[in-house]
Symmetry: C2
Subunit: 370 residues, 2 copies
């Protein structure tokens, strides 16, 4: 049963809820959801230049066959497209197609597409519904659930955006088949994070199903995506706007973002967050907050998922980016710390300050600098 | 009492409420509100090149004296600044100032400033609080209350934006003193609209206090702004996102927007909406929906507030823009119609279709075309 997928309902701050449907072949439900949220019969289908020929056009065709009018809006694949300029270009394409407030936007793709398409929907005529159709592990497990949308600017990633919960998320695990091996590996790190902060059993399932998951076996993928979404839903239903509890989803991300930036984004997001989790577990242990041995067990859970940083990722550069983190409070970076695997330690508002002389060696160790 | 101003609390869709404080001299409360919503102690002060020297700098100085760190962000005055480009420029100024999620934005100015500043706040780090300090009748009565923010694009006005309810609105009626006479007149038309749809007594007060209001007498202004805000608050508290009842605030706006666009925005927004209300009252009477004589009584209420369109505003051009209205449903423009002065007629979802052969003569008459 579980392996065939299922459905999770995520509550939003306004008291409404949206469904996340997970399973092999569920993208056949997209025309139904789109019709429900586009009373005017018009939809925008946003996709990137890689995913459009693989999946976007097929979904568009299915929507047309269901009687919907489809305006395709395709942008060049890659994180470099997650900009205000592409957002403006896509918005203008929707306006040129004459889509009104009674239209909806369907975003088919990875995290860049769900973030960018979501932000277009959030601001189009002050907001139209978005149906997220994630095609990567990262987007299924993390990006498409929770309502965060946005773009990057020169000053940093995701600094401009909006909270815009989707009308529905349709995660068809058969689409993972076209996902490059590197993206499969990187995306599964966020599933490890969900286990690390909320459910030790989830980590065990991940470990047991590792090979099938990296093969993009649709059954294994459905099981793990559904479980991960259910864990994330518990958190964002409680605190959609990251004013408190939702911050626990940033475990590994304070140091992870700094490593990612220090690598000039050559290192994948998953790898950077994986290394960040290891460093933050070590800091927690050194502070006496995290149960001893947690870092080593987390390293086992991440085995085979994380690429090592190359030697150009410099310790001082990482520490420099740490000071510019979005979560800085009174000039000091903040960390989510574990109590033990599967449980977060409640600090001051779910985050902790940490002594510099503990941060430095922990970062040095994950960078492999002696 | 009333004349000294007061306070209205506006409920938002999330169940929270924000205060609208109205009265002579209340801008002295801005540092208090700013401090409350900027736990990090940093604020952005957004203002245009006209209002900054008149009021922006004084408010900024008062905030500094209260211990806040102020990053001023000034843009060129005028509707031409209500663009995605200015939005991006202001956003980058806030990022360069290092403002975090614990900052807030204070917008001091007219409707362009509250709309543009509000949209910057709505999308900065996925949303920071905005304190609206309106300095025009239009912004006090209409723009700063209700949470609509946004910018114009080539395809039309306010087509890109977000719903972002303010943390507080501080309407200091002493600031109206610097408002040009034309803007006073234009802005009061929205107060007439509030009376026309909700409260006939409000129209009578407006008429009685006309001269004092055009003189920007702070006492008269406080009375009428407070009453107008209370009327609007009743509506937006019920339907923040304009899914139903809030549409009644569009009375006069379907035809008004078309006239405004047909004049290439040479005609003021207030005048255009005033003419739109007259035409829509005439249509309602012809349809037998609106009590006979309503148009004439509305014309009295608008006497002296509305500038006539010049002869270049062409009937066919206006009818052409009507078909492109945001509120078009199934290709037909929709109209809010009155039952009688002070009461809206409930149609299909608060708006009505109207026969073209009734729309045409009603528009012709307000354009003064024989």
């Amino acid at each position: 049963m579980m392996k065939e997928g299922g459905r999770v309902d995520v509550r939003t701050s306004s008291g409404a809820a949206y469904p996340v449907v997970v399973g092999p072949g569920v993208s056949r439900d997209v025309p139904g959801f789109a019709g429900e949220h586009a009373p005017g019969g018009g939809i925008a289908l946003v996709s990137d230049s890689n995913v459009d020929p693989l999946h976007g056009r097929r979904v568009a065709q299915a929507c047309r066959e269901a009687g919907l009018e489809v305006a395709p809006a395709v942008f060049p694949a890659g994180e470099a497209s997650k900009t205000r300029e592409q957002w403006a270009r896509l918005t203008d394409a929707l306006l040129a197609a004459g889509l009104g407030r009674d239209a909806c936007l369907v975003a088919v793709g990875g995290g860049v597409t769900t973030d960018l398409g979501g932000f277009v929907a959030a601001t189009y005529l002050r907001g139209i519904p978005v149906i997220q159709v994630p095609t990567s592990y990262l987007a299924m497990i993390d990006a498409s659930v929770g309502g965060k949308t946005g773009v990057d600017v020169d000053a940093g990633k995701n600094l401009v955006g909006a909270f815009h919960p989707p009308a529905a998320v349709v995660a068809d695990t058969e689409l993972l088949d076209t996902l490059p091996a590197r993206e499969r590996r990187e995306g599964l790190v966020e599933a490890v994070k969900h286990g690390a902060i909320l459910d030790r059993g989830h980590l065990e399932t991940l470990h047991r199903r590792r090979v099938a998951l990296l093969d993009a076996d649709a059954g294994a993928a459905s099981e793990i995506v559904l479980a991960s979404v259910a864990l994330k839903a518990r958190v964002v239903s409680e605190d959609e706007r990251e004013e408190g509890y939702r911050q626990i989803l940033n475990f590994g991300h304070t140091i992870g973002h700094a490593i990612e930036a220090a690598s000039a984004f050559a290192l994948g997001h998953g790898s950077a967050v994986g290394l960040g989790m290891l460093a933050e577990a070590e800091i927690g242990e050194a502070m006496g907050v995290t149960e001893s041995g947690t870092r080593d067990r987390l390293a086992e859970a991440l085995d085979g998922l994380v690429a090592p940083p190359d030697s150009s990722v410099d310790l001082d550069r990482v520490l420099g980016f740490l000071g510019q983190d979005k979560k800085v409070r009174k000039g000091r970076p903040r960390y989510v710390l574990l109590r033990r695997l599967g449980e977060v330690a409640e600090g001051e508002g779910w985050t902790w300050d940490a002594p510099d002389d503990l941060v430095r060696p922990a970062v040095r160790r994950v960078l492999g600098v002696s």
